[in-house]
C-alpha cells in the first residue's frame, strides 16, 4: 500500500479534506484500473470453475505422460535390469502445459491450484481486514487507555516479522495445510497490524469532524456512530488495505507451501493444491536446470500476474483517495493540441493564446493568429 504512515510519529491520516466525501468508491477510469479489474476477473473465474474445466485430476498420473529415458549403464548390453527415469513432456495438444516429472498434467494442476490460492488470499485478507477494523477503529475512536493498549498490541505484531512468525506457526500446526480456513487464519494473524494502524489514524481524524461531533452530541450510541458515521467513510481505505493484504496473503501462502509447511496433496490428510506447492515440486526436482519451463514458469507467472492485477487496482484506489496522484494536468490530447508538455515545469506556467485554442477545438477555419 502506498499510503505511507510514519512509524515514529503518529501516522499522518490522509488529509481529511482530501478524503472524498462521496461514500461510494468511484474508481477513476484509468487504464491501470481497468487492466487490474480484468486480470482479477479472469483469475476469479478460473478460481471458481477451475476444478470443473480441468481435463484431468491434478493427482492423476499415467505412464504415458512421461518420456521414459534409459538410465545410462543399465538395460541391454549390461547385466542390470533396464531402469528408466521419467522426463516430463513439453506442451502438446493433449497437455496444454505439458506434464510433470511425476506424470501429471500441469494445466489441470494449475487450474485446480488457482482455487486454493485465490481462496486463501481472499479469506486471509477478509479475516485480517475485520481484525484490523475492530482494533484500529476502536483504538482510534475510544482513545485514551484503550487506544494505548490496542496500539501497543498492534505495534508489537507489526514489529515481529511476518514470514518467520508464519513459518513457526505453520511448522507446529501441520494440519494447517489441509484447511483453507486454518491457513487463512494463521496468515491473517501476521497481516492485520499494518492496516489497523492506518485505520486508526484515519478514525482519529474523522472523529473530530463535525458530523461525528453532531452525532455524539445528539446522543447516538458509540457503536452506532462507529457503524453508521465512521465506517462508511473508511471504505476506500479499507478497500485498499484489503487488496494489499490479499497480495501479501497470496505471497505468504505460496511461501509457506514452497517451504513445505502447507502439507501435500498426497499426504494424509491431503493438503491443498496451490501454486506454491507446484513450485515446491518443481524446485525439489530441479525443473529449472532440466529446462522444463512449462512446469515451473506457469505458477510463478500466475502469481506475478495476479499480484500485478491487485497492485494495479490498489493504485487506482490510491488515486481515488489521494487526488494528487491522479493524472492531473492536461490530457495527452489536450497537451498535444496546445503544443505544450503534459506536465509543465513548475514555475513556468504555459502561455497559450486563446485564439490558437479556438482554432483547433472548434475545427473552424484557421484564422490569423
Amino acid at each position: 500500500m502506498t499510503i505511507n504512515t510514519p512509524v515514529l510519529s503518529e501516522p499522518a491520516a490522509t488529509d481529511a479534506a482530501a478524503l472524498p466525501t462521496s461514500r461510494v468508491l468511484r474508481l477513476p477510469r484509468s487504464p491501470k484500473v481497468i487492466a487490474g479489474l480484468v486480470i482479477l476477473g479472469v483469475f476469479a473465474v478460473i478460481a471458481i470453475i477451475g476444478a470443473w474445466i480441468a481435463p484431468f485430476s491434478p493427482n492423476l498420473t499415467n505412464e504415458s505422460w512421461v518420456q521414459h529415458v534409459l538410465v545410462a549403464g543399465t538395460g541391454p548390453g549390461t547385466h542390470i535390469k533396464a531402469d528408466y527415469y521419467p522426463l516430463p513432456l513439453p506442451p502438446s495438444g493433449a497437455h496444454w502445459l505439458g506434464t510433470t516429472v511425476f506424470a501429471q498434467d500441469v494445466w489441470s494442476q494449475l487450474l485446480v491450484s488457482t482455487q486454493a490460492t485465490v481462496a486463501v488470499g481472499l479469506l486471509a485478507a477478509a479475516i485480517s481486514t475485520v481484525l484490523s477494523i475492530i482494533v484500529g477503529v476502536t483504538a482510534g475512536y475510544l482513545g485514551g487507555g484503550a487506544d494505548e493498549g490496542l496500539s501497543l498490541i498492534g505495534n508489537v505484531f507489526l514489529a515481529i516479522p511476518g514470514l518467520p512468525l508464519l513459518i513457526v506457526l505453520a511448522d507446529y500446526v501441520p494440519a494447517a495445510g489441509t484447511s483453507i480456513f486454518l491457513v487463512s487464519f494463521i496468515i491473517a494473524i501476521t497481516a492485520w497490524a499494518y492496516s489497523s494502524r492506518v485505520l486508526r489514524a484515519q478514525t482519529l481524524s474523522l472523529r473530530n469532524r463535525d458530523f461525528v461531533e453532531a452525532a455524539r452530541v445528539s446522543g447516538e450510541g458509540r457503536v452506532r456512530i462507529i457503524l453508521v458515521e465512521i465506517l462508511p467513510n473508511l471504505i476506500p481505505i479499507v478497500a485498499a488495505s484489503f487488496l494489499f493484504t490479499t497480495l501479501y496473503a497470496i505471497g505468504a501462502y505460496v511461501a509457506i507451501s514452497f517451504l513445505g509447511l502447507a502439507g501435500s496433496p498426497t499426504s494424509s490428510p491431503p493438503g491443498l493444491w496451490n501454486w506454491g506447492y507446484m513450485l515446491r515440486e518443481t524446485f525439489a526436482n530441479d525443473a529449472v536446470r532440466g529446462g522444463w519451463w512449462w512446469w515451473w514458469a506457469p505458477p510463478g507467472v500466475c502469481i506475478a500476474l495476479l499480484g500485478t492485477g491487485l497492485a494495479l487496482l490498489n493504485f487506482g484506489i490510491d488515486e481515488f483517495i489521494n487526488p494528487r496522484l491522479r493524472v492531473a494536468g492536461l490530457s495527452r490530447k489536450a497537451a498535444r493540441t496546445l503544443g505544450i508538455s503534459r506536465r509543465p515545469k513548475l514555475g513556468l506556467t504555459p502561455v497559450v493564446r486563446r485564439n490558437v485554442i479556438n482554432v483547433d477545438v472548434a475545427g473552424a477555419e484557421p484564422g490569423t493568429p
Binding site: 505511507n4 510514519p6 513459518i167 505471497g251 511461501a255 513445505g260 529449472v288 493524472v327 503534459r342
Partner: protein
C-alpha cells in the same frame, strides 16, 4: 528522544512476545509434532542420549518440571546466548547461527541499501519528470513489486545462471566456490564470494526496488504540491535545489515505511537463499524444517526477529535524525 524510547519499549516487548511464542508453541500445540521430531532425531544416529535430553528440555517434551520453571530456564539460557542444540547439524544452535548470519546480513545489507537508494532516486526522477517516457517504469515497477522473490530468482538463474539455459554468466549455487577456493582472507575466496553473491543480490534488489520506487514517487508527487516547493521555485533557486527541497521532505514517510519494507525483504531473502543454496539463515531454515529440527527452527526464528527489530530501531533513529520535528517531545 522520548519517541525513540517508546519505540524501543515496543521492540523489547515484541522481542519478548516472539521469544515466548517460540517457547510456548511446542508445548501448546496438540497432536504432538514434537514426539515425531524426537523420534526422528533418535533414529538418525547422530543424536546421543545427552543430545536427546537437551532437545527434550528445550521443547518441553517429557519434562516434569512446571511450565514456569521451564520458562525461566529458557529465558535464562537465552540471555546466556544458549539457544539449544541442533541434532541435525550436531552443534549448538548459537554457533550455527553465528556462522550463517554473516552471509545473510551481508547480502541483505548490501542489497537493501542499494535497492533503497536506487529505488528512491528513480522515484524522485519519475515524480519530477512526470508525464515523460519515464512513466513507463510504472507498470514495470508494479510488476516487479508483485513478482514473488523466489520466482524472480528462478528466472534469473534460468537466464544468467550457470545452471540455467541461456547465458551462464554467474554462479547460481552456494555462497562461494566450495570446490575451487579455500575460505580465508585470500583474493580468490573474496572474489568467489562476490561472484556468487551477484545473482542473489540482484534478485533481492530487483524484487524490492519496485516498492521503493512507487513509494517514493507517490510521496514525491504529494510533496511537490506543497507551498514550500512553489516558494523555492519563486525564490529563483536552481532546479536541483528545488528538487532537493521536495525530495528531502518526501523521504521522511519513506524512511518510516522502511521498517515495514524490511520485514518483507527479509521474508523474500529467505526464499532467495533457498533457491540459490546460499548459506545464510534462510537456507538453513529450509533444511531445519525439512529435518523437523525444531530447536534450530526456533533459534533461527528468534534471531531473525531480533535482527528485524534492530533494523527497525535503526530506521527509527535515522528518522529522528532527518526530521527535526520528530525531535520535539510529543
Amino acid at each position: 528522544m522520548r519517541a525513540l524510547g517508546r519505540r524501543l519499549a515496543v521492540y523489547l516487548l515484541a522481542a519478548w512476545v516472539a521469544v515466548t511464542v517460540s517457547f510456548l508453541l511446542p508445548r501448546a500445540v496438540p497432536g504432538n509434532p514434537v514426539a515425531g521430531a524426537i523420534a526422528r532425531a533418535q533414529s538418525s544416529g547422530i543424536c546421543n542420549v545427552y543430545c536427546i535430553k537437551a532437545i527434550e528440555a528445550q521443547l518441553g517434551f517429557n519434562v516434569h518440571t512446571s511450565i514456569w520453571v521451564q520458562y525461566v530456564q529458557y529465558l535464562g539460557n537465552l540471555f546466556h546466548g544458549n539457544l539449544g542444540f541442533s541434532w541435525s547439524e550436531n552443534a549448538p544452535v548459537t554457533s550455527l547461527i553465528a556462522s550463517y548470519l554473516p552471509w545473510t546480513l551481508g547480502l541483505l545489507g548490501v542489497a537493501t541499501i542499494l535497492s533503497f537508494v536506487a529505488g528512491t532516486a528513480i522515484g524522485v526522477v519519475m515524480a519530477w519528470r512526470r508525464g515523460s517516457f519515464l512513466d513507463w517504469l510504472l507498470p514495470a515497477a508494479t510488476f516487479f513489486q508483485a513478482i514473488p522473490y523466489f520466482f524472480l530468482a528462478l528466472v534469473l538463474v534460468l537466464i544468467f545462471g550457470e545452471t540455467g539455459s541461456l547465458l551462464h554468466w554467474f554462479p547460481s549455487l552456494y555462497g562461494f566456490d566450495i570446490y575451487g577456493v579455500d575460505p580465508g582472507m585470500n583474493l580468490p575466496y573474496i572474489g568467489s564470494i562476490i561472484g556468487h553473491a551477484v545473482l542473489p543480490a540482484l534478485t533481492v534488489i530487483l524484487a524490492s526496488m519496485g516498492g521503493f520506487i512507487l513509494s517514493m514517487r507517490n510521496q514525491m508527487i504529494t510533496t511537490m504540491d506543497e507551498d514550500f516547493v512553489l516558494v523555492a521555485r519563486a525564490k529563483g533557486l536552481r532546479t536541483g535545489k528545488v528538487v532537493w527541497y521536495a525530495a528531502r521532505n518526501a523521504l521522511l514517510p519513506c524512511v518510516s515505511n522502511f521498517s515495514v519494507a524490511i520485514s518483507l525483504v527479509v521474508a523474500g531473502q529467505i526464499l532467495v537463499e533457498i533457491v540459490f543454496n546460499y548459506p545464510g539463515i534462510g537456507y538453513h531454515l529450509y533444511g531445519a524444517l525439512g529435518a523437523l529440527d525444531y530447536t534450530l527452527v526456533q533459534g533461527i526464528f528468534v534471531v531473525i526477529t531480533l535482527v528485524v527489530l534492530a533494523a527497525n530501531l535503526l530506521a527509527d533513529v535515522v528518522y529522528v535524525l532527518i526530521d527535526p520535528r520528530a525531535r520535539q517531545e510529543a
